[in-house]
Symmetry: C2
Subunit: 223 residues, 2 copies
């Protein structure tokens, strides 16, 4: 069975994606550090997930240039993380062209380790980010075919693309994915803040799925 | 006039590309270090070219992960640089998916500084690299349109795409491009070796253009 690379940030979505990919065959895990605020906590979650899934082929790379380039509240600490609902066309948490950059690293690694599939947990249903859309991933896959060697065949797999957070939680529970090992908060590393966009979407997903989130929260807003 | 980013490695091709782009409007220069063997010499050439073209908006980023990923004699010092003519389908100097990774950084930066065009000196005529083909750049541009915000319009400009080295040298001389400030050798940083693939292609280009290469060489093979 051919090797699949999973992009693992350490969050809920990448955990469920890894659980889906693990049913298919052997895995390699890729984690990128781009000096986001919660980098250490996310890396700890990545390592715990890799141990859980018994993945030995791991690559952790620094893409500090994302901080140099700036333009996002996730990496630019002079911009506050928003705690209200997104209203702008493009949220301030958007990191410019992030998924294309992450996939670029993954495809280069795929060429070297002969992986045939790259899994990532993007979903367009609840996202305002242009690089989370199905049409973006389809265009990316065509670009890879045009830009790699004749022996390389890489498919971009986004099994969560049409799901909302409740569906992701339900699938994770059904597959016994280790959701307690994940981290989603954009702001804090000790307790999840419960207030940032990522915490609120995660909490709403568990609530709609009728399940309890195993993570500890500093505060949980009323629904 | 809108801003254009030029990918400037410091070599002959990027110098001539910059000279072409400079006729169009204001420029920003992007240079990537990926721990290739001649990184210091290439950075010196980049800086000299940026000074020559009076470009103040510069970004220099480290993409060390290319060395971590390996797979190329340019970044993996356990692989020798070949000195004979390329015969394999894919040369050992091929860095996996390099142009896609470089363009990913350029597009992220373009979103932040509102650049509308990205110039790079790729050409498919004499290249065996799959990510130097016209169809790759066309696919890349479509992927960018699908994956960036609605306010972003980025065109990938490859003015040298159909040219051989002789045509590039002729154009550089016609535009008074500062070819003496460039560096092309894959192996050495003091004198160009004259023997690696890059030196031999450059020397052949000058010879066919009927011009002298202003760089100092350790040895120049008979034509």
């Amino acid at each position: 069975m051919s090797l699949a690379i999973v992009l693992v940030s350490g969050g809920l979505d990448s955990c469920v994606t890894a659980a889906i990919a693990a049913r298919r065959g052997p895995l390699a895990f890729l984690h990128l550090r781009y000096r986001q605020r919660t980098e250490k906590r996310e890396f700890a979650a990545f390592s715990a997930l890799a141990d859980h899934f018994q993945v030995e082929t791991r690559l952790v790379v620094d893409v500090d240039y994302m901080r140099q380039i700036g333009g996002s509240s996730l990496v630019d600490t002079t911009h506050p993380i928003p705690e209200d609902d997104a209203t702008a066309d493009l949220p301030t948490t958007y990191v410019p062209f992030r998924n294309a950059n992450l996939l670029g690293v993954a495809v280069a690694w795929a060429e070297v380790i002969n992986a045939t599939d790259i899994y990532l947990g993007a979903h367009e249903a609840e996202s305002h980010y242009p690089d989370c859309r199905r049409e973006f991933f389809a265009a990316y896959e065509r670009m890879v075919a045009a830009g790699t060697g004749p022996q390389t065949q890489v498919r971009i797999q986004t099994p969560l693309i049409d799901w909302d957070k409740a569906a992701i939680v339900r699938c994770g529970l059904a597959l016994s994915a280790p959701l307690h090992l994940t981290w989603s908060c954009y702001q804090r590393e000790d307790l999840a803040c419960g207030r940032c966009e990522s915490c609120r979407m995660r909490l709403a997903g568990f609530r709609r799925a009728g399940a309890d989130d195993p993570l500890p929260y500093a505060s949980i807003p009323r629904s």
